[in-house]
Symmetry: C2
Subunit: 186 residues, 2 copies
DNA sequence: GTCTATAGATCGATAGAC
DNA sequence: GTCTATCGATCTATAGAC
């Protein structure tokens, strides 16, 4: 077993999953060390700020991921209807039909919200704005597009909560089908 | 200041608020002791099972609270339309327009979900079933009533997430107005 | 860059005095 | 029924060897 020279960026997906599964307080450094296969010393080498810096890095990567695959297409794809359809597909996969928690949403409900407030607000603000843009381009009246966009982004978050509580991934998928329907032009 | 003889039930609202604000892991016994004004010894006198038993008790009280004020009226009030309207009003107050977290929803997104799974499932199942009943009685076709009910209950949870992340209580209220509109008979 | 060892604080939980 | 004192475990974070 050769000594691995870890890259900071390679740790981010593992860190993200650990925070998703255990939350900010629940994800202890020992747990993170086990999950990443690194010692605490190594973790502090990459993230001198400790857990807080890890979460910041994870949130930045999540935002970049959504920016590339969801937000940017919604904003400027030549075919806004296709971008919206792609969004629902991407999100269903990403959240594993509600089996996987949205880290941004979960942090928003925790007391970590105050610490990471700016990143959390940015993520949802970007999403709502990008979707509003696509809804407008697809023919929705500009007066109602922001409200509809908030309904949909909020609806997705609620679908995660409900599907996880009821332990019914089908519920997540059905709600998303319904939201997709509402996103169609009138 | 006379020595207070605490009643177990009197502690529940304080415990609920503490868990709402700090989550299951974040609400330490020291924090709970400070919030309730009791020592750890007293807390273990009332809740021999520690934090887990406190959360169970809080969840039971929350369910009873909603049963009396929301679920029962939805199920059997003579005026189902009024019960639905009352539900939206009660919920808006209860969640402080999204400033206050739904403890059941927050626990569903945390790793405490597995420990308290049954209580979390019960709460949302009762809500969805009761609202389905009211929607049917108000004239919605039975085939679509369950789906609409899930949309609404999930939508409320999502509204809490989004409003907290964006720090915009108005967003919570606007989403609830929209959901209330969809609950009207066709 | 990674590790072990460990500091210092805090955790959940218990014991015993009153 | 409430308190203080305290246990052992675990926590975040650091130090220093390699």
């Amino acid at each position: 077993m050769a000594r691995q020279v870890a890259q900071r960026d390679d740790l981010l997906p593992v860190l993200a999953e650990t925070f998703r599964e255990h939350g900010y307080e629940g994800a202890s450094l020992s747990l993170i060390a086990t999950a990443t296969g690194l010692g605490k010393g190594s973790l502090y080498h990459f993230f001198p700020g400790g857990k807080a810096e890890m979460v910041e890095a994870v949130l930045a990567e999540i935002e970049a991921w959504f920016e590339a695959r969801v937000f940017a297409p919604l904003r400027q794809d030549d075919d806004p209807a296709a971008a919206i359809a792609q969004m629902f597909g991407t999100v269903t996969d990403y959240f594993r039909s509600g089996r996987r928690v949205c880290l941004v949403g979960a942090l928003s409900l925790s007391d970590a919200r105050d610490r990471f407030g700016q990143a959390l607000r940015r993520y949802f603000a970007l999403w709502v704005e990008a979707l509003t843009e696509a809804l407008t381009r697809v023919g929705h009246p500009p007066e109602g597009a922001t409200a509809l966009s908030e309904d949909i982004v909020g609806g997705i978050q609620g679908a995660v909560v409900l599907a996880r509580a009821l332990d019914r991934p089908e519920t997540f998928e059905r709600i998303l089908v319904c939201l997709r329907e509402r996103a169609r032009a009138a």
